[in-house]
Structure formats: C-alpha cells, structure tokens
Symmetry: C2
Subunit: 392 residues, 2 copies
C-alpha cells in the first residue's frame, strides 16, 4: 500500500530489536503541509509526547519519527535530552527543522534509548532510499502486535481528481484511550488548512480510537497524528471527515481484533441514553468487565453479567432496570428471557468471531444522540501469558 | 468456631446445589438486639437487597437468611414476590416477624429461585436443630470460593467480661465494592445501640471490604450485615470499632487471597496524597490494572506498569511524576532505579506469596490522612478458565 502523494518515508533496523525494522521517518515536502495530533492524557507522558505536543501546536508539522521497542518514559532529564537529539538528527537527515518533526515511541517504560545505535542509524539516513510504503512503516512500529495494520480510503478533490487517506496503527495491550491511544499515523495528499484537518481528525479519533479498549490500561506514549501533504489539491470538508473516519475505524477494528490474546471482536452498542457521555460510560463498563469478556471468550450468552456491568454505573440514577433491553446479536435476552428453542441460536451467535452486544437503556427524555458504539475483544488465557511473561 | 452468645443458627441443604448446604438462617433472640447493614450500589440490585434495605432501616433486625447458588436478580416482580415468601417462611420457622429478618442471595443472575424446594426446606426448619457454627454458615454460602471464610476477635465488656465478634464472608469474583461487597455477616454478643453499631460497622467496612477488588466488577447482590445479640453486655465504642475492623480486615484478606484464580495477595499502599479519596483512586488504579496484576502473577518487578497506572489518574493534576516514589516490598524502584545488585532481591520480593507495592505521591500540601491501603490479587489463566467456563 503506497503512501499518498507528497510523502517520502524510510523504515530501517537500528538494532533496538533482534529482528526487523524498528525506526521509521516520514516527511512531506510540499508547500501546503498541514497536521493534527492528539496525545495520551497520562500524567507519566514521556518526552516524545511532550516534544510532539510542542511541535504539533502550530498545525504545520511535516513528518514523524517513530522508535519501537522503547517508550522512553520515566527516564528523567536525560530521556528528554535523548528525545531532542533523536529529533535533531532525524530532521538533519531529511533536511527539515527539528520543530517540523513529531516523535512517537513505544515499548518498555523506564529504560533509556540505546543512543549510540540510534545515532549511527539516523546519521546514515542522509544517503538512504526513502521509498517505504505504509505496510513497511506499520511493521516497523509493532510491539506485541501479530501483524502490521494499515487502512486506505479514496476521496475526490473539488477539481475531480483523486486524493487518498492512508493510515497505520499499532497497539494491542495497554489500550484504553481517553484522548488518543496507541500510535496511529494517518497520511493524506489532500490540501487542507490545519484548523480544518484538526477538527476533522479529532472528530474521527473521538468516534474510533477513543471508543477502543483492550484492557482498561492507558499507555504513557499514545499518539495519533495526521499529516497532509497537499499535493492532490483541496477536498470538501465532509468528504475529508468521512475518509478520516473510515480509515480510523478500519484501524480501530484491526487493533481490537488483534488485542493481546484476543480470539473475538467484541462490539458494544448502547442506545437510548440521556446523552452520548452516558452511552459511552455504560458501553465501556460492559466492554471492560472481565466477567463479560471471559463469558464472550467462553461463548457463554451470560446476559446477567451485562446487567451487572450496567448496574455498576450507579451514579446514573436515571437508568431504570425495568426499561433496559439487552440483545446478543439479534436476539433479545432481557427482559424477554430466551426460551429453550432460542438457546441454540444464542450459542451460535456467541461462537462467532464477532460478537455484538446491544443495550437500549430506555432513559426517559433521552437525547437523539444518546448512543455510542465501542470496540474491544474477549479476555483469554493468552492475555495472561503474554503479560505475565513479557519482560520489563 | 462457635457464634457469639445469643445466636441460634441452622445451615442445611435445600437442594439448590448438588452437594452441601445452600441455605442458612441465623437469629438473635435477646431483648437488646441491634443491627447494621450496607448494600451494593448497583442499579440492578436484586429483591434481596431491596427487602433487606427496608428491614435494616430501623437498626433492629434480628437475623439473616442466606440463599446460595442463585442471586435472584433481574427476575422481575415474581422475583420480588419469591424473596418475600422466603423471608416469611423463614421468619415463621424461627418465630420472628418477617420484618425482623434480612435476606441475602448469591449466585447466577437472571434465574428465578427454585421455590418448591425452598418451601419444603424452610417449612421443615421448625423442628430442626439450631446449632450451626460459623464455619458451617460460611460453607453454606460459598460459590466459587475454595474454602469457607471466618474470623473471630475477643473484646472486654465494661464490666470485665468477655464479648466476641465473629464474622463470615464469601465472594471471590465480581468483587469491586463501592459500598458493600460480596456477602459478609458479622455477629457479636456485645450490647450496643443501633446507632453506635452502625457508625462502627460502616467505618470498619469502609477501611476493609470497600478497599478490596478482585476484578473491578461489582456484584448486584453484595451485602454486609452486623447483628448484635447484646447477651455479653456493653463494650466501649473504641473497643467495638477495633474488633469489628480486625474481623472485617481478616475476612478481606481471606477474600483477596482466594480471589478467582489468585496465586498471590497483592496489597497496594498509597501515601502522600491530597486526601484519602485521591489515595484510594490511585491505589485502585494500580490494584485493578490488568498489566500490573499479570506482572505480579509473573513475578516481574515491572514498576513501569505501576507508573502507567498512576498516570491514568490524569484528572489528578497535582500529582507530579517527579515527586512520586514507587517501592516494591522494601526496595525503591523509582526514581532510584534498582541496580544489578538489587535485581536478585527484587525477584525474591516478587516471588513471595504476598506482594506489597507502596507509592508515595509526594503531593505538595497533602493531608495527614492522604493515604489508603487496598487489597486484591494477581490475574492468572485460572481466572479466565473459571469465568469462561462457569455456566450462566
């Protein structure tokens, strides 16, 4: 999958991990570059997030450096100096100012970058080929991901030409975004003002990455970045928003399916809420309940655990259990208890690779937008194995 | 372990489960009975909680009926009628008014009580021996508990005699109390006014059961009850509070150690917070993080995950990562990174059956009471097995 027009990219192996690429640099050279970025709200946000937040502020960042295997978090003043040096050397190699680049890191927390191998690698970039495609970039930033994640959508520019949105993402554990999540980078060749890109990208992120949870844990390093090269010409705002949302949703579903140890995609749709915040709170309570997740893993249509999870939202006193409806797939389980005849169909629904739980809260006077859909996965023994045995 | 003086109790097998006792009734006959009770805040609280809340209001409940294997939750109007009938028949059998009894149920959600076997059992109680001890009662209410949980403490009455507090508890999954948790019943023969008992019991519950979490899921049926028979005479308020707290803490630790699939007791102590609420919020974020829990399971001193969990409390903007200290056992891991020499000791600390993580937040101007200790367990493959395979 090629990047949109106007980008050059290099993925290479600096040696942070034993096999495969572990650093990439991508940059847009055109005159009308725009960018948008959202970051983790963690109190322990690392130097990469701090520096990128500064450099993203003007909406004119041209590119990104991503370092895999090491999050460079909780590494003190030296960690900040290391991050600045990486930005400077990368910027020097591709001929832009350090302030025009963003940086994202992912991996172990609490260890310094191996600076000597990073220096050697970055200084060697000046003479390298910059022809990496989206798949190569996505592969270079994987941690426990089982496969690289890319997505692409076409748009039509106002002059009738074709523009593209191409996104890449990583992150299968420590995933419960509240503002951004994991690392996602979205490229487009559309020409767009930074303010317009920012509004469209934040909206798309809110409905996709921010509705994803693998394990309720929020990374210290999460970053979602969009960069527009402008080469393909202007697109309509609505068209841009739809394309960004389609790419981000596609990546979100890939991340959920590849959640650590996941065997199923779990989608929870809540409707009939007072407002979207309430719908999201209830949907997340269901999606994140270890008892719901293990029931889904065991293909057990345990709607009682869904009721339990809704019941945890006890500050939402306008939710009346007698007005709640719980549906597995297309079969209502509460209050219309499934009979013997429906048990076979229920079992079939639960055994599928994608399970959807729909809840109508029936809140009186609920808003038209009182709904939210969230994405996650089941909880398996494999999640425990990955995380009990994964070294610090 | 005998109950305190002034109680008579019966545990029997109504047939709700295949083997063993599944119903118990305990009642205090004396003239100066007092009681206190706290319940789940779940929106889906079942008829047992609704009825017990009514009957506990005056602080003069004399006893409790507990039904195992079936929570009688989300069972509609019929479930409420069934719960009333169980209370009436049990009260009739022991010769008290139905309003003087509390009821607690635990087990599957969304199925009606098997009323015919319950009727037969309760009507047969009139001629039964009432000589069950604490262990028999605790065993009769187990679900996935691996052993019955009891605790006992002695007090000295104001006249120099001995009074006792004896408690029983169950609950190893769906445990994250916010007001009460699981089912716990505490008996004492001390003579105490309902208001005094209530204050002392709620204080004890807040520092013990409400600081316990196995899996972040809050039961729809959780109930903690204290009943005083008054037979042993008055005790000092402070003595009562200390005894209640000791019994509740003992039971809390037993519940944490027996958490579903648990191999280790995990204690998290947070100090140096702005106030107790902040300390508890941070402590729970650490205790409930699946990545911290799996690291503890794998004996991995992964303090980076503890930093991550603290970082999730991003609304607590007065927490400054540079002032935070993280200690495993008695060894500081952040900001004083452990050296090679300490790794062996760290590994030893992590391999023990009890792991304590201490965090000093160092919040400037923090209150003297800005601390909280919470109790939980590791997360193992066995938790998944129990809950993926446990039938609705």
């Amino acid at each position: 999958m090629p990047l949109p027009a106007g980008f050059r990219a290099h993925a290479g192996a600096a040696g942070l991990r034993e096999h495969g690429d572990d650093v990439f640099v991508v940059v847009a050279d055109g005159p009308s570059v725009a960018s948008s970025a959202v970051f983790t709200r963690s109190l322990f946000a690392g130097p990469s997030v701090v520096l990128s937040r500064e450099n993203a502020a003007g909406g004119r960042a041209r590119g990104v450096v991503v370092v895999a295997k090491n999050a460079n978090v909780a590494t003190g003043d030296q960690g900040m100096a290391d991050a600045r040096e990486v930005l400077e050397r990368a910027a020097g190699a591709v001929g832009v100012a350090p302030e025009e680049l963003l940086i994202a890191s992912t991996g172990v927390i609490g260890r310094r970058y191996p600076m000597s191998i990073l220096r050697t690698h970055l200084d060697g970039l000046a003479g390298a080929e910059f022809d990496a495609d989206a798949l190569a970039l996505a592969a270079a930033m994987m941690t426990t991901d089982t496969h690289p994640k890319t997505a692409s959508v076409e748009m039509t520019t106002t002059s009738g030409a074709t523009a593209r949105v191409v996104g890449i993402a990583k992150g299968v554990g420590m995933v419960e975004p509240d503002m951004a999540t994991m690392i996602a980078v979205v490229f487009t060749d559309a020409a767009v003002e930074p303010g317009v890109l920012d509004t469209a990208f934040r909206g798309a992120v809110d409905d996709t990455f921010n509705c994803l949870s693998v394990d309720t844990d929020t990374s210290t390093s999460d970053t979602a970045i969009a960069v527009a090269s402008g080469v393909a010409g202007p697109v309509d705002e609505g068209e841009l928003r739809r394309a960004l949302e389609a790419v981000c949703l596609d990546l979100t579903l890939q991340l959920a399916r590849d959640g650590e140890g996941a065997t199923k995609l779990l989608t929870v749709e809540v409707t009939g809420a007072r407002d979207r915040d309430q719908a999201k709170r209830v949907a997340k309570a269901i999606l994140n309940s270890p008892l719901v997740k293990t029931a889904v893993h065991g293909a057990d249509p345990n709607w009682g655990r869904v009721a339990m999870a809704i019941g945890k939202c006890h500050d939402d006193t306008d939710i009346d259990p007698e007005r709640v409806r719980i549906v597995f797939g297309d079969l209502e389980t509460y209050p219309a208890f499934p009979g013997e005849a429906e048990l076979e169909r229920l079992t079939e629904i639960m055994r599928a690779e994608e399970v959807t739980i729909s809840v109508d809260l029936g809140v009186e006077g609920g808003a038209a937008d009182g709904s939210c859909t969230v994405y996650g996965c089941d909880l398996s023994r494999e999640y425990i194995s990955i995380n009990a045995d994964y070294t610090t």
